[in-house]
């Protein structure tokens, strides 16, 4: 297992390096020149040239890359060209926003989808059919639309939640929970549909296995058969889908953050990309890839714990 994890870790490091390098050269080769935009429309040629020099845009691309990489491996991701803030600080402030959303959405997804999936598999009949129809509808509805409706009803009309903004948990825990509830709900809807459908399918397969019939015939309590034996064997497939959903939710957060005026990683990524703020784009990309690698590793560990066959393979 340790060798397996070390191999995955090494692959993750290579992945971070390759994606960061590709991003650097892709942004460098677009011909973007944000100096004029930073200096302002009415800035003269001399001011723009001075800004270009200050940003190092008059240096060869390879030289700039070597410089960036040298600093990045030491943990210095540079300074945002537009806000003059250290990239590590900008990302460090945005990351908790996105992680709050995504983790809340994942917890919600895990809890709701397992209950729904197991219920549909065990009960069958109308419960199963309702779940399947609701899954298709929930999967088809874009999460930004769900977000807009939730904001309109629960924030604007009823005033139960804030419509925009993020509250740090260290400042106000209840305010933090309120600020992420609607966005997390909007984000989780599609994921719940996907994971619930996966759980239902896996549970139906497992419940048809001979060993389940044997356990039942030996008189084990139904709850024990269901939760200790059937669900544990059905869980790896759901967990794999859930870990994939985590990555998809980070992508989905880009839109949801905009709808709720949250400055998370997604909002930072889109605004930095549209402005041509290369250091911030690179910082966001590096941190996001590292996050994805960590989540995949954790999923591997969890799968290994649930199913020893994974460790062996």
């Amino acid at each position: 297992m340790i060798t397996f994890l070390l191999r995955r870790l090494a692959a993750g490091v290579v992945l971070v390096f390759v994606i960061a390098t590709a991003t650097f050269f892709l942004t460098g080769l677009t011909g973007s020149d944000p100096a004029q935009r930073i200096a302002g429309t009415q800035a003269g040629a001399a001011q723009v040239a001075a800004k270009r020099h200050e940003l190092g845009l008059d240096r060869p691309l390879v030289e700039r890359y070597a410089d960036w990489l040298g600093h990045a491996v030491r943990g210095d991701l540079g300074t945002s060209w537009f806000t003059n803030q250290p990239v590590s600080r900008v990302v460090g402030e945005a990351l908790p926003v996105s992680l709050s959303l995504v983790l809340a959405a994942i917890l919600l997804t895990a809890a709701v989808s397992i209950v729904l999936g197991v219920a549909a598999a065990v009960r069958g009949g109308w419960a199963d059919r309702v779940l399947q129809v609701v899954s298709v509808v929930a999967f088809a509805v874009p999460n930004f639309l769900v977000g807009m409706i939730l904001a309109l009803v629960f924030a604007v009309q009823l005033g139960l939640f804030p419509a925009i903004g993020y509250v740090k948990p260290s400042v106000d825990p209840a305010g933090w929970l309120a600020s992420i509830t609607l966005p997390a709900l909007a984000l989780a809807i599609g994921a719940i549909a996907t994971v619930a459908a996966q759980t239902r399918g896996s549970m139906i397969d497992v419940l048809r296995q001979d060993y389940i019939r044997t356990l039942r015939s030996r008189g084990l309590p139904a709850r024990s058969v269901l939760l200790k034996h059937a669900l544990r064997n059905a869980a790896p497939a759901s967990l794999t889908v859930l870990s994939l959903q985590f990555i998809a939710l980070i992508g989905g957060a880009v839109v949801i953050e905009q709808v709720f005026g949250l400055t998370g990683i997604g909002e930072r990524a889109t605004s930095a990309a549209s402005q041509g703020d290369v250091p911030l784009v690179l910082g966001v990309v590096v941190v996001t890839v590292v996050l994805v690698v960590i989540v995949n590793l954790l999923a591997d560990v969890l799968l290994g714990w649930l199913n020893p066959k994974v460790r062996m393979s």
């Binding site: 935009r37 800035a43 003059n84 939640f161 804030p162 925009i164 903004g165 005026g261």
Partner: protein, 506 residues
Amino acid sequence: MRRSIVAASAAAFLFGLSACGGGSSSAEGSQTLTLAIVTPPTSFEPGAMAMGGPEDHYYQAVYDTLLALDAAGKPAANVATAWSYDPSNTRLSLTLREDVTFTDGTKLDAAAVKANLEHAKKGTGEAASALRAVDEVNVTDAAHAEIVLSAPDPSLVPSLARSAGYLASPKALGSPEIKTAPVGSGPYRLDKSRSTSGDAYVFTRNESYWNKSAYPYDQVDIKHLDNTTAAINGLRSGQILGVSAISKDIVQGAKQAGLTVATYDNGTIEGIFLWDRAGENTKALGDLRVRRAINHALDRETIVENVKGGLATPSAQIFAPTTSGYDKALDDAYPYDVAKAKRLMAEAGYASGFTLTVADFSPVYPDEQAAMTESLAAIGIKVKYTPITADQAVGSIIGGRWPINYFNLTSSNPWAFAQLTLDPKAAFNPFHVTDPKVTELLETIRTSDSAEQDAAYKRLNAHIVDQAWFAPWAFQQGAYALGKSVEVTTVPGVSVPPLSGFAPAA
């Protein structure tokens, strides 16, 4: 079944707990002014910021300006209580208040003014460009300074009421910290510990500010918000009290929600800017008849109604209504007349039209670009669009890559506008087109006194319209959407109402 009820109850509790926290963040009714701005501040360093966009609110909170703008958008006393030029218009004398102190305890005096102007002139922003004629700043005594110019500059005084006039503590100037930690003498201080960079900025009252009564709020919170839905929801829920209505969606959304939308002349002219007016790369544009045909092809009234949601004033001229160069008669210099436009095209030898390759600005200005495409198509001019990224837009225009573009630019400071678009070396005269009459009139404006200057501006405006250097369609109206508990006094010629213009609703 029992477990389902327990699960449902737990979910309801969680939901309820969350809901409890929602109401506390409302800004309505408090002495905190919460505004939203579409862009975060780039830098708080004097000389590095933009001249007058929506981000002005960040800077107005912490910095005093040498001069202010009055209700008509004209320069007015602020830190400088009096100012006057010598007969040659190359020496500007300033008299300063003597009761102003920066938040680090440094006195705001003539030496501080000198340090700021010299620092801003060396900067990389628009303020540096505005101060280009400044040769030196002399300190007469603590309360008097003299700005010496290399040549007369009619735009200098108005610029001192904008970002070129921001004053930071001389001790902080040049330090790397000032980019994110301003030290000014303005009505508020930035509370960095409660701010999140690029997202939310908290400004608390500067208790020793000399003009506290002009700023009724104890605290100003500014949130970076660039999504229309979020802006409208924030206004409707009372979480924000004001946002610049940069799109007609925000205007319509705010009006539908029963909120107030304050409108004002922001001094920006928009339409088709005909860069290659000498026909260097696109021969057809060098023909005056083609440029006039383009002007006649614009249905300005309809564009204003459909594209701008009525928030603009149709016009074919370049100088804003608040300026001395404005001439109402020129608004309708090119009436909408497609038949006449086609005749002019035929006379110029382009009866079957021609094709232009233009930057695709539709991601930012979809309706404006559609209006341009449709108007030009009506007289046979086809437009092929080339995708570009947002950060390439201005650079590619200045580099002379496009013959025309949909564009907008403020002309509330006519000399600055002329220096930016009409002068042969101007950045937005990318093909460096020269015209002896334009050069002569610019020289007259530069060297003359007020009355002669005003007349020259009018003659310059008329000449530019006659020669169809541009095909403007309207002067924009600024719009600012407000929450129910706030009212605002607007100032013409600027993109957002000044921070001092906000007050709790009566």
